[in-house]
């Protein structure tokens, strides 16, 4: 299983003068689940665009299963076995989940085959099984526009699987989901990872910890900053600098606050109730402990 399913060789993408990707090198083993993180504007989505053929690299080459896919159109790349899930769930809202899956499941995607060939019972069973797996059996025949955000996310993942790709590109699957839904999506991806190669782009660090059992790649300004397992990446000084540039400041304030010990209140600064450090000082709340925020890594 050492064969590389995806090799990206020194790829540069420039839009006008702006370089979204700069000499990016990237390898993915077959069967690997790789998480790609990086601050906004690091080129994560462009990275997926290049793999899926939406954007053509200005320089460099992309090899999928050893084949240069530069000259292929999106649908040809999709037929080769690369499936892509978008950041916001993109399902066909006017069709039902079953119809959505049937379209993705269709094996011969030529015009006349789509028109003339009847749905095989095999496909019918596959779709039914998939509906069960993504938990949408009871809503199989309502229009997909009526589904909730989380259900649409799951439906889109289901569509990906129905396409039976070898490589899944998943762009922020946890965006806008509750903790529980996020966890479920993570389990789905882990289950999928048993039989697919997957690239996941994600911000939510807890989610990354849940699914990153192998390597994590950090992108910064269009090229790979570092690669390694999650602990290595988190302790990498470069990554900390890129992500956690403000950490020094925080350490300083920590000292100041702990000097004042009037009343002890446990304060959990969550995403919702943001409090600036100065506010905390003003209200004279003693802080026993400051832990690193684990939500969006960019907010730190």
């Amino acid at each position: 299983m050492n064969a590389k399913i995806l090799e990206i060789d020194n790829v540069t993408v420039s839009f006008g003068g702006f370089k979204a990707l700069k000499g990016l090198n990237f390898n993915l083993d077959q069967g690997e689940l790789r998480v790609v993180i990086g601050p906004n504007g690091a080129g994560k989505t462009t990275f997926l665009d290049v793999i899926s053929g939406k954007t053509k690299p200005t320089e460099g080459e992309v090899y999928f299963k050893g084949r240069n896919i530069q000259s292929f159109a999106e649908h040809e790349i999709a037929r080769l076995g690369i499936g892509r899930k978008f950041q916001t769930p993109r399902v066909y809202l006017n069709l039902t989940p079953r119809e959505n899956l049937e379209l993705a499941c269709n094996r011969n995607k030529n015009v006349f085959a789509t028109l003339l060939r009847a749905n095989s019972s095999d496909e019918y069973r596959t779709v039914t099984g998939l509906l069960e797996t993504i938990g949408l059996s009871s809503k199989a025949n309502v229009s997909a526009g009526l589904l909730s955000h989380g259900e649409k996310q799951r439906l889109e993942i289901g569509m990906l699987v129905a396409q039976s790709p070898d490589l899944l590109l998943v762009d922020e699957p946890a965006a806008g989901l509750t903790d529980e839904e996020t966890y479920n999506v993570g389990e789905l991806l882990l289950a999928l990872a048993e039989s697919h190669s997957i690239i996941v782009i994600e911000h939510d660090m807890e989610f990354v910890r849940q699914i990153a059992n192998n390597k994590v790649t950090v992108l910064h300004q269009g090229s790979v900053l570092c690669e390694g397992n999650i602990e290595e990446v988190q302790n990498d000084p470069q990554v900390i600098e890129v992500y956690l540039g403000k950490q020094e400041e925080e350490i300083e304030t920590k000292e100041i606050i702990t000097e004042e010990e009037e009343k002890i209140a446990l304060l959990e600064i969550t995403k919702e109730e943001k409090m600036s450090v100065s506010e905390i000082i003003e209200k004279k709340i003693a802080v026993s402990e400051i832990t690193e925020k684990e939500k969006k890594i960019e907010e730190v």
Binding site: G66, H75, V91, L95, L103, L115, R125, T126, V161
Partner: protein
């Protein structure tokens, strides 16, 4: 919630059926593994009968075909005598023409309502179909070696080469469909391959309309210019303007309309139709699913143009005239209005819209010859603002509630979310289904 808690709550084993796993080795060996997983994914359904919706589908198709057939027969045999009794016999001819227009409306509905491409140039295809038949009607009654009358006027001594095939009736029939379809396929291929969409596509079709209008308008020697081709006499031994022949055309129009309806229904109900809707809603997603939208769009555009050609021929033979006016931009836009009034993406809506708008128009133009155009504009505005989904769309979605409210009938609401919750519905169905089989 903490991670462990969630984990405890949602101990769910995800099992993904492996769909047609291509384990091709890219060193050159290809091994295709048969899908095995599909079998064990549906054990739950072994107790219940695997419900294929095939039988019910067949039944509903038969019912619909029956209804369409019945309406067609009524329109052919009952409406003409009825109108004659009322003293409105001339309306039969009008109805025939409007039904021909309904065919092109169906074509517009296919590409606009279902596929989301707004063509403002269908007048070209309509007129090409009309001209194809008109050319045959010009040639048919002539003795060999003679030219159509207008050619003599402009000093043409030899029949232009492209008129030659129209001596033959079968070739003409093929031409009526194929010429517009090929033109649309060519135009569509160039446009869609370059991913030109939306407004730009509409503008291009308009431009094509202007080009063709000017060409046909300017070519007196070839097509009699502005006057168009008219004064049809006989073909296939029939006198074109005789009442019996006109009734024949009337009946033929209805039969073709019914067939077109069936054809469009077939196109739009299956997977192909769903893909058209998918292209309309999110074309780039379709690409990432492995479909190439270009081919689908070209095919639909060509079919739609072919239908316009048929409509043009039927309309021409019933009005007795085809002129470049049919390529007027206003006429192409009118076609879109019919579909908008009737309801996009509803085939029956396209037919109803075409007939309704045209009848309203002919009635209004009789009553208020000077200002009827204002009514047409107002109609379009009203539909766009009040009934954005058209008449049929409104009927399907809101009509029942609105009429109830107007009449003051209160609905009995049980428990709102319970009635509409699909999970509750499914359980209910399963329960009743089980009881049914148990008894």
């Amino acid at each position: 919630m903490k991670k462990e808690e969630i984990k405890a709550n949602t101990q769910k084993i995800y099992h993904f059926p492996r769909v047609r796993k291509r384990t091709e080795n890219w060193q050159g060996k290809e091994t295709v593994v048969e899908p095995v997983a599909a079998k064990d994914t549906v054990p739950k359904f072994q107790g219940l009968k695997l419900k294929y919706p095939v039988y019910t589908k067949h039944k509903s198709i038969l019912i619909e075909a029956g209804i369409v057939g019945a309406i067609a027969l009524i329109t052919i045999f009952l409406i003409p005598p009825l109108l004659t009794v009322v003293g409105q016999a001339f309306r039969v001819g009008l109805l025939g023409r409007f039904l021909a227009l309904a065919i092109v409306a169906l074509g517009i509905d296919l590409i606009w309502g279902y596929t989301g491409m707004l063509s403002l140039g269908h007048g070209v295809f309509f007129a090409l179909g009309g001209y194809a038949l008109a050319m045959h009607l010009q040639l048919a009654p002539l003795e060999p070696g003679r030219l159509p009358e207008f050619m003599g006027l402009y000093g043409v001594h030899e029949l232009p080469w492209f008129w030659q095939p129209f001596y033959s009736f079968p070739l003409t029939i093929i031409g009526i469909i194929i010429i517009p379809a090929l033109l649309a396929a060519l135009l569509g291929y160039l446009v869609f391959r370059n991913r030109i969409r939306g407004v730009y596509f509409s503008i291009l079709t308009q431009a094509a309309t202007i080009v063709f209008f000017n060409f046909f308008n300017g070519q007196q020697k070839l097509f009699n210019g502005t006057n168009g081709l008219t004064n049809y006499k006989t073909f296939l031994g029939l006198e074109v303007n005789a009442p019996q022949t006109q009734f024949l055309f009337y009946a033929l129009t209805i039969i073709l309309l019914a067939l077109t309806y069936g054809f469009c229904r077939w196109l739009t109900t299956g997977r192909f139709g769903r893909l058209l809707v998918a292209i309309r809603d999110d074309e780039s997603r379709v690409r990432f699913s492995g479909y190439n939208p270009t081919g689908f769009k070209v095919l639909v555009f060509a079919i739609s143009a072919g239908l316009a050609g048929i409509a043009g021929a039927l309309y021409t033979v019933q009005t007795g005239l085809i002129s470049p006016k049919a390529m007027d931009i206003a006429f192409s836009i009118e076609m879109v209005i019919w579909v908008a009034v009737g309801g996009r993406a509803t085939l029956i809506g396209a037919i109803i819209g075409a007939i309704l708008v045209n009848f309203a128009r002919s009635l209004l133009s009789e009553q208020f010859p000077e200002i009827w155009l204002f009514f047409q504009g107002a109609l379009f505005l009203i539909v766009v603002m009040l009934l954005p989904d058209g008449l049929v769309g409104w009927w399907r979605s809101q009509a029942v509630n609105q009429i109830r409210r107007l009449l003051g009938i209160k609905q009995q609401v049980t428990y709102p979310s319970l009635e509409t919750d699909p999970e509750v519905q499914q359980e209910r169905e399963e329960l009743t289904g089980k009881l049914g089989t148990g008894d």
